[in-house]
């Protein structure tokens, strides 16, 4: 017997296991004909308030449900349930992001086969969630003017991966001393393709442009699913 050092080729992406699970989730969502939106932001940017306002605008047009991700508490799920919308809370403990397996597990006890839109509110964090595909069809990144104009420059990976960037709390722009044009330019620099909406979930300013866009995205999804039947 002898000890032989040996090099073995691996050529595997480290996130491969998550990616495979995300592909399975994506297939399941496609088969059920629903649009799945992964909503990401820093803590306190206003994800849940945005969702509340979006739900109020759209709940009569289509069937939707929400999966909430937080380290602790089911406070966010309670806020959504208070609107009469089904919500499921994932508490991650210490994990700073949702992953595709957590979503697959949630779906075991949270049936979503009758939905037009499933919103997944990720853990508030502008770093890690960018790396973990959940199987969503729509990636939405929310930032608020109160965070300052430089968030896209500081967290370019997160903003780069977004289909839609929502700039929230524009009613606070003046008080925060933030130039909305500068913030929009900074988003554009790291993501030339994203659709950008500036709005305030609290006052409702700019909300209808976003909810109309989302309504069309859901409708487009439904007709695409019907066409594939």
């Amino acid at each position: 017997m002898e000890s032989v050092p040996e090099r073995i080729s691996v050529q595997t992406n480290v996130l491969n296991a998550n990616q495979q699970m995300a592909v399975a989730n994506r297939e399941r969502f496609a088969n059920e004909g629903m649009l799945v939106m992964n909503l990401m932001s820093a803590p306190g940017a206003g994800k849940t308030t945005l969702l509340e306002a979006t739900i109020k605008a759209l709940h009569e047009q289509f069937r939707l449900a929400v999966i909430e991700g937080d380290l602790q508490t089911d406070l966010d799920a309670q806020r959504i349930q208070a609107l009469g919308i089904r919500a499921y809370q994932i508490t991650t403990g210490t994990t700073c992001h949702l992953d595709a397996r957590m979503i697959a597990r949630a779906l075991d006890s949270f049936p979503v086969d009758d939905l037009d839109l499933l919103v997944i509110e990720n853990v508030g964090n502008l770093i890690c969630p960018a790396s973990f595909d959940l199987g969503e069809g729509l990636r939405v990144v929310l930032c608020s003017v109160a965070e300052g104009p430089e968030k896209p420059k500081k967290y370019p990976v997160m903003f780069n991966k977004a289909n839609v960037v929502l700039i929230n709390k524009i009613d606070l722009a003046e008080a925060s001393g933030v130039d909305l044009n500068e913030l929009t330019t900074n988003v554009r620099e790291v993501n030339p393709h994203a659709t950008i909406f500036a709005l305030s979930s609290r006052t409702g300013e700019g909300m209808s442009a976003w909810t109309n866009w989302l309504q069309q995205a859901v409708a487009g999804r439904a007709s695409a699913a019907m066409a594939s039947v």
């Binding site: 002898e2 050092p5 073995i8 691996v10 050529q11 480290v14 770093i127 790396s131 990976v157």
Partner: protein
Amino acid sequence: MHEISIAESIIRIAEAKAHEQNARSIQVIKLRLGTFTTIVAESLQFAFEIARRGTLSQDARLEIEIVPMVVRCVVCKASTQPSHGVCLICEQCGFPLEIVSGEELQIEYIEVDSEKEESPWSQYRSEFQFRPTS
């Protein structure tokens, strides 16, 4: 601090590969890490040292090759390496840039210690390898 879950994934993938080859232990794990990911090499090294305990990678070295971000204009095809922040709009012509590299998070290879019987074939192979080329 998602580097811990990344380190655990690296160890799981390496271990599965090592088991396939009946290896006793893993000595080296070679990783290509792009600069346009959310992973910090130093944090990953630290997380790896914690996560490797009690695994085949217990004594393994994590070799990280940093892959710089390279972007290219979709129109004028000019390639650049962003140095001060990331701007994905071409300075030359104003069109969007595409990312050519920098998003890598890939295990290239592992080096393992295997226990193997001496066989005529292995002897032949080592002779073959050391035969001078003329």
